[in-house]
Amino acid sequence: MIFNSITFAAFFGIFFILYWFVAKKNLSFQNLLVLAGSYLFYAWADWRFLAFLIGVSALNFYLGIHIEKTNNPKYKKLLLYIGLVQGVGGLAFFKYFNFFITSFNDVFQSLNFNINLHILNIIIPLGISFFTFKTISYILDVDKGKIEATKDWVVFFNYVSFFPTILSGPIDSGRMFIPQLQKKRVFDYRQATNGLRQILWGLFKKMVIADNLATITNPIFENHLQLPSSSLLLGAFFYTIQIYADFSGYSDMAIGLGRLIGFNVTPNFNFPLFAQNIAEFWRKWHISLTSWLTEYVFTPLSISFRDLGKAGLILAIVINFTICGIWHGANWTYVLFGFLHGCLFIPLILKGTMNKKKKTTKNKLLPTFKEFLNIAGTFIQVMFLFVIFRAETISNAFHYYLGIFSRSSFPVTEFETKTRTGENFVFIILLLFLLVIEWRGRENQYAIENLGQKYPRIVRFVFYALIIFLIGMYAPTNETPFIYLKF
């Protein structure tokens, strides 16, 4: 049941009515309904792991209460470790077990030993990378006294499995989200219309931009050995926009759905394609993941390595981003992707500009020439590394790069439009439309949040109608799953 499907629309429509008309009087009724909706949503996607999800929630709920209650530091530590072992162990088993086994086999094979350990037929619980990070941050925060352990199990179970965000985030922190579950939600017209607007923009990015781009980039990545350099560059360029439109589109829908039922879900994107250096890119890309990593990985590491000066910072950031890469899945491509992103920070650390906020000219129509160069330079770095992210194996990525630099760029690519736009120029206009609207709206949480506020309502409605029309007209008819669903 993906967000842009009829099934989900029906599910959410019924949920919305029950939530605001039947359950509105009473906080516990509201929370129980959200929980029931979340479990139905999760079971719909894959019922086999519902028990696992409930078990993980129950364990961490009790750990939180007892970590807070005990005065015995050893017992406290033990409880914390149980939570961490469950979280990290769960991820290691479900996501990485087979990867470890095949990597072991490869290593031994290369040493001429044939041990041939068997891989297991493991199915990954949906959303495990996302909800595990929520439970880990929760017990760490309780342990450090940054948050009070909640004694209401419905609240905690809802925090772990909140249906708009369970499958692919954003990864809410307990500090921000649990207090929202403890207050009764009251219907707010502005918040709801804001949510609808954000969903609309998310749908456009996902269905019109990302799904059409997929029809161009998939064949390029599949046939990269035969294509000229111009096609490969185009493939990398389009894939960068595709993954942005796909994941930020998904995130907008998740956040918008949250708003519709009275929640403020944590933001996930802040126009990363306009970032002026790689550090800024990661402050704007998948924010809920990077802020999690900054708090629970980078900061403790940089404190531990503090006597090493800049070398310590470099070590901390490279480890941090390698973990960021591995988080995406069990493939050496992700490891390398993260590691190289970490390496891109090295010049910034040496120059001392990693945390310097770039001064941007607010509300200007066009960037200055220097800003433009910075944006383009950052985009190119990001684009080249997304090739590794997209490739099936490191060797594929390597050959893709080799193709870009060794083959001729002729014939100049005519990308074959299997997109629903038919003509290439129509699709290019749609891409430009995206980029212009995003640039214009870059001071907001999402591009069309405050677009056209100074015009009469009717103008805005015509604009929204235009977007709906574009979705109806140009979205491919087959359902394309979200890229981040597999992480």
Partner: protein, 80 residues
């Protein structure tokens, strides 16, 4: 050393590390109050304070302070 002397010495460290002459910290100052004070300069500040007072904080202590006052409390425990 009196508490307010410590505060003054720490203020000098802040001015030096954050490269801003106008900084005037108080017990209830937090990172939000000073633009240049972010996660990276925080570590530099910690290292400088450790050197100045010839003490060593644990990771846990460093991550637990909510404002300058709590940091000074922590420094005082090292001399107690």
């Amino acid at each position: 050393m009196e508490r307010h002397d410590k505060l003054k010495q720490i203020n000098d460290i802040f001015i030096d590390i954050l490269d801003n002459e106008d900084i005037l910290i108080e017990e209830n100052t937090t990172a939000k109050d000073i633009d240049e004070w972010d996660s990276l300069t925080h570590i530099q500040l910690v290292v400088a304070i450790e050197k100045k007072f010839k003490i060593r904080f644990t990771s846990r202590e460093i991550q637990s302070w909510k404002n300058v006052g709590e940091m000074i409390d922590c420094i005082e425990t090292k001399f107690a």
